[in-house]
Symmetry: C2
Subunit: 356 residues, 2 copies
């Protein structure tokens, strides 16, 4: 074949074949803003895991760059980044947006709420996803489960809590809804930046604090200065959140939409598995290296008082807003059925063999 | 451009451009054989869910046809179908292959073993996947988690079990390892085809049976004829299994390999979520429509005797085979740490609020 003919052929080839090839080969470059700092364990692994799965499954056609808080400088600006389209995606937690929209508070976890398996069942089979869509649609944001921490611990205390009296004036770092509940019982909830928490606890600026659980608490070092580690009640199944700008999503080809959607779902489940692992390993380390750490549960008197205040507060929320009532009714109705099953399955199993 | 030149150009185009286009557009048609019959709930949904995700994410480039047992006529032939390449994929449960290779017994669940979240943590972070690969590599089979039932119930009994005496001569449908354990205590385990179970129980051919849990038991109708429903001990976290023929997998392009791998992982997690939901809903139905059904746990005397026999049997397995010992040591070592965490997180949470 002569060179001239070949060149002509290639020209035609590029005209005839390329449009399809181009559509299939087009690379979409997205940015994700996350609330967490760089290399934040577990939470930050969830975004990396998601982006890696998308890259592998799309053959590199959807590239997601992750900006941590050191880059975008606004840990709690994720909602607006995604709403305005400045970032196509975000990774954060829904309950951070309660100041913008009270409905968002109920898609992360609730004190005395569902466990992680119960809550996933509610999201995917009990109406949770549909309710979350109703909340986020008005902002042009798609919201998805973004990884679960499992049951969070009740926190590190320098003194034991034996009666309701012990809560009087207790200075505790415990933000959000749970802090409001404890305040009703005389505690003084405060919020303190994470970098200052250790020193604040060590110098008695605060008497107690809650963070997450062994998976993230170990590196903070609280076990060295607070001997009482209390079991949890306020965040039984904290689910992080992926957010996607609806318009950006609509511009993706269908196969990339599917790849992104399922990668987020898998990364969320995977984080729950990783949280379980890191908690188990780190708890074992704490118990081995710091045998003086005592794990306690609040006595029934304290727990029942907290529960009563919690129920009152939720009832107030529901009375103020019909959509909140709808969400809470869905959660409470589902939990009642799911908890029956949990009690006769995992709880009975764990209790029957005294596997402590 | 003249027609002749255009035709020549297209010929060249097909030579120069098509190989790439062909590789990208090539449709792979696979077949999956599953142990279950057509439209089998939950288990069968896992394979459909997996195939649907693969189809959507691959833009139709990987098509997986599902053959249920009515088609391939060999519910327990799945291992050989995949080993020989007659089917590229299978969906079944690893413990069905213990007759071929005793190591396979330990990748589904064990009596008194890990709960579902603990077991996923073991698979993905505690060495479970690596051990499963060592077992299945010799057959050219890749094995993956295939969906979890959650904690299975101990079974339906026509009479209450109050003492070890009540196990003497008890005719119970309970296959496998758990059956061997009960046999040591004087029970008479039998296996009966599922279609005949209801009649066998009704006519006192058997005194008791175990199936799965409310998710699948409700449709079997056992609650109409056996008033005692016992909590579980023998299958705390039954994980089904996807199998893939290694050679077939190696022939897939990298992006389809990733799509298949993550679709299987997601479908497995999804089945656990669905199992939780179906169990919750169906348990509520049983309790509402059949208030005479009594949910019981075996008394400590019975439970401890069962546990002792179970431990003896496992020790015998380990003594006979170093690879089995390696697998059991991994499971027991991981469970010890993970259970500590479960006890201080979900178990404490559930016990503290007496949420029965």
């Amino acid at each position: 074949m002569k060179f001239k003919t070949f060149a002509a052929a290639m020209l035609v080839a590029s005209i005839v074949v390329s449009p399809l090839a181009l559509a299939k080969d087009k690379v979409y470059r997205w940015k994700l803003a996350e609330t967490w700092g760089p290399n934040f364990p577990v939470f930050g692994d969830a975004t990396k895991n998601m982006a890696k799965m998308v890259d592998e499954m799309s053959g590199g056609r959807l590239q997601i760059r992750i900006d941590s808080s050191n880059k975008h400088k606004s840990a709690l600006g994720i909602f607006d980044f995604v709403r305005t389209g400045q970032y196509q995606m975000g990774h954060s937690a829904s309950y951070y947006w309660k100041g913008k929209d009270i409905e968002t508070l109920f898609f992360t976890t609730l004190p005395f709420g569902m466990t992680t398996p119960e809550q996933y069942a509610w999201f995917y089979h009990g109406g949770g996803m549909e309710l979350m869509k109703e909340t986020y649609d008005k902002y042009g944001i798609m919201s998805f489960p973004g990884g679960n921490t499992g049951n969070q611990m009740g926190g590190w205390f320098r003194k034991e809590i034996n009666t309701l009296e012990d809560l009087q004036g207790l200075k505790m770092r415990i933000p959000g809804f749970a802090g409001e509940v404890l305040a009703k019982l005389g505690a003084k909830p405060t919020n303190i930046p994470s970098a200052e928490l250790y020193t604040a606890l060590e110098r008695n600026t605060i008497d107690a604090l809650e963070w997450v659980g062994p998976s993230l608490d170990l590196r903070m070092g609280f076990h060295k200065i607070a001997p009482f580690y209390y079991t949890g009640w306020h965040e039984p199944a904290t689910e992080l959140q992926f957010m996607v700008n609806q318009k950006a999503f609509d511009k993706l080809p269908e196969d990339l939409q599917a790849i992104l959607t399922y990668a987020m779902k898998t990364a969320a489940y995977d984080m729950y598995t990783q949280s379980t692992h890191e908690s188990a390993i780190n708890l074992a380390t704490i118990q081995q290296d710091y045998p003086n750490v005592k794990i306690r549960s609040f006595p029934p008197e304290v727990m029942n008082a907290i529960k009563a205040e919690n129920d009152k507060l939720l009832a107030e929320f529901a009375a103020k807003d019909p959509q909140v009532k709808k969400i809470l009714d869905s959660i409470e109705g589902y939990k009642a059925k799911a908890r029956q099953w949990t009690n006769f399955s995992d709880r009975a199993y764990l209790d029957n063999f005294d596997s402590k």
